[in-house]
Amino acid sequence: MPIYLYIDRGTFVHRLHPTVKVFALFVMFWSVYWVDNPIALLPVGLVMLWIAQLTDSWPNFYRLRWLFVILVFTTTLAWMVFYRRGAVLVNVPVFHISRLSLVFGLGRGIKLAELLAASVLFLSTTKIEEFTYGLQRMRVPYRVSFAISLSFRLVPLFIDSAVTIVDAQRLRGYDFNQGGPLERVRRYVPVVIPVFMGALRKANNMAMALEARGFGFSHEPTTFVEYPVTVTDIIAFAFLIGLGTMNFMLYWTGLGGIGPLK
């Protein structure tokens, strides 16, 4: 079973200059940050759907489908508890179900889902080496950019290890689903400790292997792959500037808030 998200499809999005891809991730986050209204979040969402279709990233979205559903659903519900504005539509204990709280909660849920979707698209189309290179070009020091990009590669490994550990403890009769929410969190101690110990061991092994291959050598590292800037990169860059500006304008004009739906 593949544990990494990168899908080698060779589309023009895959071939974009790494700096443009890192910038695109930033613009997606920026665009989502400024708007709250579900309708105002639509343009960014549509752009992401278009990119997902172009890059054939659907298998990754399918793998994470439940995470998207849970994210939108639980966030909407949670905000209906805490966001107590607007006329109540239905009386339900604890919840404040109004048009305003529904729109606000749904908007927050979609925001989080779009942030996740932007990350999934980025990782589906960007190699670790490109990520490092892109960050470097944005003046992030090599060691820091390498560490950031490597951590993306490590997370799936740790998840894989955590799944095995959960299996091992379940086979010793351990029930992770007993008790209330706090008790359930506490019950993950028999997983957290082996994952943590394993992560430390792996990190140590990796650090040794990295240095043994010259990481930290006195010379500035070179790059094996050349990334020429093409016309497509310039068009993509201009498009991203436009998208980011548009979303900021939505905020600036108030159209991106939940006000118009009041």
Partner: protein, 583 residues
């Protein structure tokens, strides 16, 4: 010049490696991991380093590129020179162009998203220009047999391919020395064969190599063998000399080569490099054994198979485990199990073998309920497993994962073992009684209050067994129970498994180790691409030349040797008794 010469009389500049009086004590340790170790390696020489766990093998390897003492806290003294340059002032990364290091854990040494990038990684780090990298990548991949793999994701490669890729990535820097620290421990027989074939090619090209390895057969081609014991060199010489010292090897936790040991027991003074040489030596010493009419072992020796060790009344009329037409695929992946049928009776000892990816672990997970079949069903003692929760299954069938560290979390050994019965809500006195029983069974009764994380790998593996044994299952599945253990620990682990089987517990082991199958199992199930392609007795299995070859599984050398004489012995003792009986 060999290490027998006084080290002070040797000129370091003439040698690939020159180690003089190296002592290293890890921070907090009560004794040195290396004690005044001195050795010299000529350019182009291949040295095999052996010894029990904790003997200092990896510490010695890590000294050669300064991981010790740069990464490990401790006290270091002595001098190491590589190709004439003393290392004292150098950092680990500075040594990358000189010393290539390949580690056991191949997952931790691959950082890139495609094979070509992986090979380029080290060259990028040392600031090589793009044109030079381009010139070096293909020859490096060619050398390890991975040409054509340039665009593959390293994570999609097999274990053997990953390890060869790791070697290619150090080869690209053209170091004068390559150190391989147990490079094949986690590989299947095919992967092992690939890596050792590559090592032989590199040696033929004149590279200086240091290979740390547990299996003595694999190091017979080395120029020299160094055996470490408690941080000191216990033996250092050509393989034929070192491997002839069976007693010393055993005392050092090293498994003597089966062929040499057999000849020694037959009173023949020779250290054969191959089955053919061993055959010739025996024929010269025992001419009467030749000409024995070939016996159809599969037929004639079936009656000699050890009888089932479970008590007869424990053998139920129906199978304990029933796997009926089970198929399974992971999401979006190919079929991993393909219409498998299998039965395991109470008290059996079954070895499941097959290449990596053949479906062994997936099959085991189907039995214990960690995975659900896409088609077919699994029964445990006649009950449909799909109707049982994993916790219920755990009381019938226990599963010991390959890596014991996947379950250890408690502060003491006793708490770790008590974790299972506590989950089932057993009373305290019952838990205590069961813990005593389980710890006694695995020989950890004196470690009750020890921190599990401070135990050796072998002890942690036995602790993992104790922590499922405490649930008193009727069957135990062990996934690669001897991986990463030295010979002494392997024997101890397998003695424990055999004792449990004799006590009536059915055993299923998933393994790649031929001698382990030969010496302990009584039935073999061979899987290939998710299908069961052999299911029968151990002797019958080792008679299937074509099947073994096509599955990249090898009979133990002693079995191969015995077959040259027209018989089939599974152990050295059995073969020696056969020869003596006909002499």
């Amino acid at each position: 010049m060999k290490t027998d010469a006084p080290i002070s009389s040797v000129t370091p500049g003439l040698h690939a490696v020159w180690v003089d009086g190296v002592t290293f004590t890890y921070h907090g340790a009560d004794r040195p991991a290396l004690r005044a170790v001195s050795l010299v390696q000529n350019a182009g020489e291949m040295i095999g380093v052996m010894g029990a766990s904790g003997a200092g093998k990896s510490t010695l390897a890590k000294c050669l590129n300064r991981i010790v003492p740069e990464f490990e806290d401790g006290e270091f003294s002595g001098t190491i020179t590589i190709a004439g340059e003393p290392l004292n002032h150098l950092r680990v990364c500075d040594l990358a162009p000189k010393v290539g290091m390949v580690f056991q854990d191949f997952e931790s040494q691959l950082f890139s998203t495609n094979v070509a990038h992986e090979v380029a990684f080290a060259m990028e780090q040392v600031g090589m220009d793009r044109a030079e990298m381009d010139r070096r990548i293909m020859p490096a991949l060619e050398a390890v047999g991975l040409r054509g793999f340039e665009h593959r994701d390293p994570m999609s490669l097999s274990g053997g391919e990953k390890q060869r890729l790791a070697i290619a990535s150090v080869l690209a820097l053209r170091p004068s020395l390559i150190v391989l620290d147990e490079p094949t421990t986690d590989l299947d027989p095919e992967g092992r064969a690939e890596v050792f074939a590559l090592i032989a090619r590199l040696r033929a090209q004149g590279l200086s190599l240091i290979v740390i390895e547990h299996e003595s057969e694999e190091l017979r081609a080395a120029d020299r063998i160094i055996v470490l014991r408690e941080g000191e060199i216990a033996a250092n010489g050509p393989p034929f000399q070192v491997f002839a010292r069976t007693e010393l090897l055993t005392a050092c936790g090293v498994r003597p080569p089966g062929l040499g040991h057999a000849l020694e027991l037959l009173g023949i003074d020779a250290q054969p490099k191959s089955v053919e040489q061993a055959y010739d030596a025996i024929v010269r010493a025992y001419p009467r054994v030749v000409g024995t009419v070939y016996e159809n072992i599969a037929k004639s020796r079936v009656h000699e198979e050890p009888a089932p060790t479970a008590t007869p009344d424990a053998i139920a009329s129906h199978a304990f485990i029933g796997i009926e037409n089970v198929s399974f695929s992971y999401v979006g992946g190919p079929r991993v199990l393909d219409s498998i049928d299998l039965k395991v009776e109470p008290g059996e000892f079954v070895a499941i073998v097959g290449q990596n990816g053949s479906g062994k672990t997936t099959l085991a997970k189907q039995i214990v309920g960690l995975l659900q079949p896409a088609a077919g069903r699994v029964t445990i003692d006649g009950k449909d497993r799909a109707q049982m929760r994993p916790a219920e299954t755990a009381r019938e069938v226990a599963y010991v994962f390959q890596n014991p560290d996947h379950q250890i979390f408690a502060a003491t050994v006793e708490e770790e073992v008590a974790f299972g019965p506590r989950n089932f809500g057993l009373p305290d006195d019952e838990i205590r009684r069961r813990c005593d029983e389980a710890l006694e069974a695995v020989g950890l009764q004196n470690e009750r209050q020890s921190d599990p994380f401070l135990l050796s790998k072998g002890e942690r593996q036995r602790l993992a067994v104790a922590s499922v044994l405490v649930l008193r299952p009727r069957m135990l599945i062990l996934d690669e129970p001897t991986t990463g253990l030295d010979h002494r620990e392997q024997l101890r682990m397998m003695a424990l498994v055999r004792d449990l089987n004799r006590a009536g517990i059915a055993i299923v082991i998933i393994t790649h180790t031929p001698w382990l199958v030969a010496e302990y199992a009584r039935r073999v199930v061979l899987l290939r691409k998710g299908a069961r392609i052999f299911d029968g007795g151990v002797r019958e299995f080792f008679m299937q030349d074509e099947l073994l070859r096509s599955s990249s599984f090898r009979a133990p050398e002693i079995t191969e040797l015995s077959r040259r004489f027209g018989t089939l012995a599974l152990t050295t003792d059995e073969f020696v008794a056969w020869v003596k009986g006909r002499a």
